[in-house]
Symmetry: C2
Subunit: 595 residues, 2 copies
Amino acid sequence: MHPTTPLGALRALMQARGLDGLLVPRADAHQSEDCAPHDNKLAWLTGFTGSAGLALVLADRALLFVDGRYQVQVQHQVDTTAFAVHHLHNEPVAQWIDNHLPPGQRIGFEPMLMTNSQYEALRASHCQPVALDDDPFDAVWHDRPAAPCGVITEMPDEIAGESSADKRQRVAAALREAGVDYLAVTLPDNIAWLLNVRGSDVAMNPVPHSFLLINQQGDVEWFVAQEKLAQLAPEVTRNITLSAPGAFLTRCRACAAGNVIALDADFSPVALRFAVEQAGGSVRWQSDPITWMKALKNPVELEGYRASHREDGAAWVNFLAWLHHEAPLRDAAGDPITELEAQQKQLAFRQQRETFIEPSFNTISAAGSNAAMCHYHASPETNKPLTRSEFYLNDSGGQYVNGTTDATRTLAFGPLTAARRLHYTAVLKGFLALITLPFPNGTCGHQLDAVARRPLWELGLDFDHGTGHGVGHRMLIHEQPQRIAKKVNPWPLLPGSIMTIEPGYYLADQYGIRIENQVEVVEGAPGFCRFSTLTLIPIDLNQVETGLLSAQEKAWIDDYHQQVRDTLAPLVNSDARAWLFAATAPLRVQTGAQA
Amino acid sequence: MHPTTPLGALRALMQARGLDGLLVPRADAHQSEDCAPHDNKLAWLTGFTGSAGLALVLADRALLFVDGRYQVQVQHQVDTTAFAVHHLHNEPVAQWIDNHLPPGQRIGFEPMLMTNSQYEALRASHCQPVALDDDPFDAVWHDRPAAPCGVITEMPDEIAGESSADKRQRVAAALREAGVDYLAVTLPDNIAWLLNVRGSDVAMNPVPHSFLLINQQGDVEWFVAQEKLAQLAPEVTRNITLSAPGAFLTRCRACAAGNVIALDADFSPVALRFAVEQAGGSVRWQSDPITWMKALKNPVELEGYRASHREDGAAWVNFLAWLHHEAPLRDAAGDPITELEAQQKQLAFRQQRETFIEPSFNTISAAGSNAAMCHYHASPETNKPLTRSEFYLNDSGGQYVNGTTDATRTLAFGPLTAARRLHYTAVLKGFLALITLPFPNGTCGHQLDAVARRPLWELGLDFDHGTGHGVGHRMLIHEQPQRIAKKVNPWPLLPGSIMTIEPGYYLADQYGIRIENQVEVVEGAPGFCRFSTLTLIPIDLNQVETGLLSAQEKAWIDDYHQQVRDTLAPLVNSDARAWLFAATAPLRVQTGAQA
């Protein structure tokens, strides 16, 4: 076979190294949700661009494992004559190996790209896993993009709310208490939080790719490309030992001898375990303690979220006022607004805000049936018009200097069918049920998830995504560890936690509905917590069957809209103010006007 | 020290065997919830009669570990100068050993009374666990009650709904599929289900203490005291190899050589692991597959539950009609009904039902402040009067020939305070919220638990017990594995599951409220399940703030009461029928009468 394709090149490489197979995961060394082009080996190999997946290349065949979300997408992107598509969870790769390969096959893998549990699953199969101690793709991926080299900037203490020195002492105390000598940190947002810096290696992921070691005295060694530090004031790295990322494993080995090294049980590369064990050290598997410190925001961070939500709310209202005025007119005139046009206009309104930096994630601007795909992003090929007969769903947010926003509104520009109104009302009722729920201290997200689904369940419907996720502070839009979802999540929602609440409903090829607010968890009655809303954007009530709302639900909506109106009226453009007042009028006024 | 006390006797024994300590758990070899007197070593040693606990006896001191439920009770029952009381979960015994004993202490334990995870926790501590291969208590517990020898009876196929032969073939198929050679069964209800028998070793626990081995061909070896089989038709044991319980470990060892033996990960004694490993066999830790087969009831069993609930409902109505007539009169006359009298009267009404066998658990008949203790049982010393100014809570059930019942009603015989009415209404609303909830296939109890708590949470209140448990078929009142509770339970609620729904509220030293129905899980809309009620007992509406009920809640109550009325009217005593009609009248009639 002549190695003109990536697949052919990998097979030649396998042969040269005596491997029967090679695993190619969609992963970088940080287990990032978004991958830099340099790290996206799976996309290079297969063409598949989804956010999770794994290829197994064998001499005579190749397999691509993707999860349920991507079964359709993969058919469009991948040459399925070269790659047989399998389900990532129904028959995981280790199980497939046991079922279909003879024992003892030598399967290569990169231990910097694999977590410990992934490795253990592979090891429990009857293949012989072969750890590669280099990156074999450098030799065969000729037009490989350069490793990202995003500039790192300081997050000032007055916005972070706590100095890096104080954070390091908190971590050091946690290590002393746990009897751990070193903590090895590979999660980019944990490093960004600890050092009060932000990065720019991957678009809309303002965290630096790097590694870090911290010991019981709070001494920090940072393994980061020197070039990324060019714009950073020297004070930031004054008490930090700087090394190249390539020195990280060697240094872990050196630290490990006779010592206890804490590794993140879910995210650390198994290469770290190998390094520690080779050096005679012992691994303490735990959650990186920084994850939890970072998750409970301090008062300065919380005030930053609130301020950025006021700015984002004003941008939303300016956008919505424009949209509600223009969309029906343009549709009637036969020149409808498109998804991409709406998205660009919204960005322009955000850019008017002084503290806005960039979108916090890829905007979902989805009209009609496009919104039925939860992960849709508009492109020139898919760009649909916003019409008076279909929902338009917008899920977007911004990075502001002092916080991060994420919200979804589903809008209509004319009367919709009874089914659409019923489903919109059910999503709204689920949203209201959860956002108004008090819950005892120590409650976890999986205990609350059903509350947001009940109105849909009563219609025999459901939605196939989580109900809420954490949001970083000027950081990742999906922040660990808390989550509100069906799946068990052991981390309680405590005061200072930032979450989204975003139930939805999706009817394939027809429409999608989602309503999302960002909230902070605050203290409630003694022993209880509650959600306090951060998002300040009117909820479209035109499609609500108000007869299905309880008095309490109507009261919450009216209170919320009054808060939105009072807060945003001074901040929005003058030509948006009338719309804001109409959109936030009490329900009896709105439904009176409708009748 | 002269061994006149149990503690002294144990210390002498420890010295004779070279032990520094001895663990005495509240456990039998089946990890039963209720212990036979013969097995209750902890009660003999300490006086403590709670259902969970553990003593650690050392030469110079002794400790008793009990959980939060029992911190008060233990003070009444135990000589705390002899036994220092510790918290079972806050500082588990293995952690206490690490914190307070020097390393290497020889701590004796009985491996038939300890699960594998309990053993692993002990082994991870720095003591030296010493497994005792006999029961050391025989030598020192001179007035020890005999081992239970309850007669075993047949559960006819026409009531069980499936022959034992068919069940054994299903288990054998599961073993073949799992690649397991033998399954060792120690759970009494799993043995009872598999063999279609019932036992009587512990009061109100109609399951036999015994052990069982089954192989891939479905061959069964039953390790059971011969005396228990005297009344059993020979057909029942025809294809079964019978041995004495004492032969079980030896036989496990013989089976284990070169074989895979499945042990229940949560309940098997660690002695089985030792036996398998000593023989060179390998242990497959899993849930006993019988547990899940047993949990999904067949149509005949389900019809049996329904029939037994009709009988139990009739007994309840006869009792409630009598009680509602007599209680206020007797209170006014200065000769109030007492908890014990009510309990006896209720039993008499149950005994009028032809298919009634015995109570399915210790009745909770609790007036006023006694009901604030969730696990209260009336005694001559605590026996309170039923008055017109306080709630009376009754939680009771029956074993019927074809099913098992469990229900709670909270009653009042006069107007109560606004706070009591509010709390009663909140408990009722939580009960209604859960019993009316449809949920997708695969949903687990921990996902639904909050639904029953929300009305209490909205008042800043909660209750400190699970919301629902499984109920065996003519078997244990608390049946594994499903559970509706805050704690994660990985077993989904599927059609054929039998559960209780029993939210409550308890104000210490004042009152307790609980409303409990037993339900079966049935298919709902496509892809969904729902609860169908089994319990047929009017819900006391006199204390409900009906203004706080939604139209849907009222409709459910009226529908339910109509079902109760229609089903039970032909079954109750003639003098109870008028009360039944009044108690099940539609809400607008009842509240009209009240107003």
